[in-house]
Amino acid sequence: MSASTPTLWIIITGLALGSWLLRFSFWGIISNKELPKWAKRHLRYTVVAVMPGIIAPLVFLPRTTNGVFDLLRFVAATITLAIGD
């Protein structure tokens, strides 16, 4: 670890507070209010839009192979998708 200990703890604290605020944000504000229909309709796409964004680089450009496409990983991903769907 090249970062010094105080630096590390400043970063941990900053990330911790910021992450909690992001997570609490709308859940904290909205509480009992009903969201408009169009907003709810858009939010139905949260899972299917965010998850592939996380998955894609991990499947197609794995860091452990220095970003080189790996057929075995691709096949494993395809099988999981086929079973899960």
């Binding site: 090249s2 941990i12 197609f60 079973i83």
Partner: protein
């Protein structure tokens, strides 16, 4: 060393943000840059927060403040799918389900982080443990793909990061096609 790892996890509890922050720290980036970029990776949590609010918004303030700490990709996806499939669930049932998923994922994650920091590089590469992450995410997202607009949204989500990394695997054409088809289709009434 492994106590620091577990403390880092307990405080931040967000894998992708932690990985990003760590690699920026190793590159000797300024503190503020590390924090801002790390939080940018976590921006999706605000979206999760809004989505959960539509189902669990009526929970008391303290419950929300506590449960917000544990919004994870996994627990969010599981709870969201459950809520969509069972709209008749009461608030307390939804909260119990959410707490059950997030508690289990969180507990395994904390223990796993401790073991990982302790065992460290002695885990052989050929096990390809890194690939457990995308496999888990695919398993979470696949059941949510019900209707065409969701598939289009997923394809757009898939193309965008690849394109932005200037990979040979997708050109701008792919993204434009997917997003225009998503935009076109979301205009139609939804069945799911």
């Amino acid at each position: 060393m492994y106590l620091t790892s577990v403390a880092f996890l307990l405080a931040v509890i967000a894998g992708a943000a932690q990985f990003t922050a760590l690699s920026l720290m190793l590159d000797q980036m300024p503190i503020i840059v590390v924090i801002i970029v790390g939080l940018t990776v976590n921006l999706r949590m605000a979206l999760y927060s809004t989505t959960l609010a539509t189902h669990l918004g009526a929970a008391p303030f303290r419950t929300r403040a506590l449960l917000a700490y544990s919004i994870l990709d996994h627990s969010f996806a599981l709870a969201y799918t459950k809520h969509q499939e069972n709209p008749e669930m009461t608030l307390s049932q939804k909260l119990s389900f959410y707490f059950g998923t997030t508690g289990l994922v969180g507990a395994i994650w904390i223990v796993g982080t401790g073991i990982g920091a302790w065992v460290g590089t002695r885990i052989p590469d050929w096990l390809a443990l890194d690939f457990a992450i995308p496999i888990a995410f695919i398993a979470l997202a696949a059941p949510a793909l019900r209707i065409m607009p969701q598939v289009s949204a997923a394809l757009t989500g898939l193309c965008y990061p690849l394109h932005s990394q200037k990979s040979p695997w997708s050109g701008p054409d792919c993204c434009i096609q997917c997003s225009s088809s998503a935009r076109h289709r979301t205009g139609t009434p939804l069945g799911g």
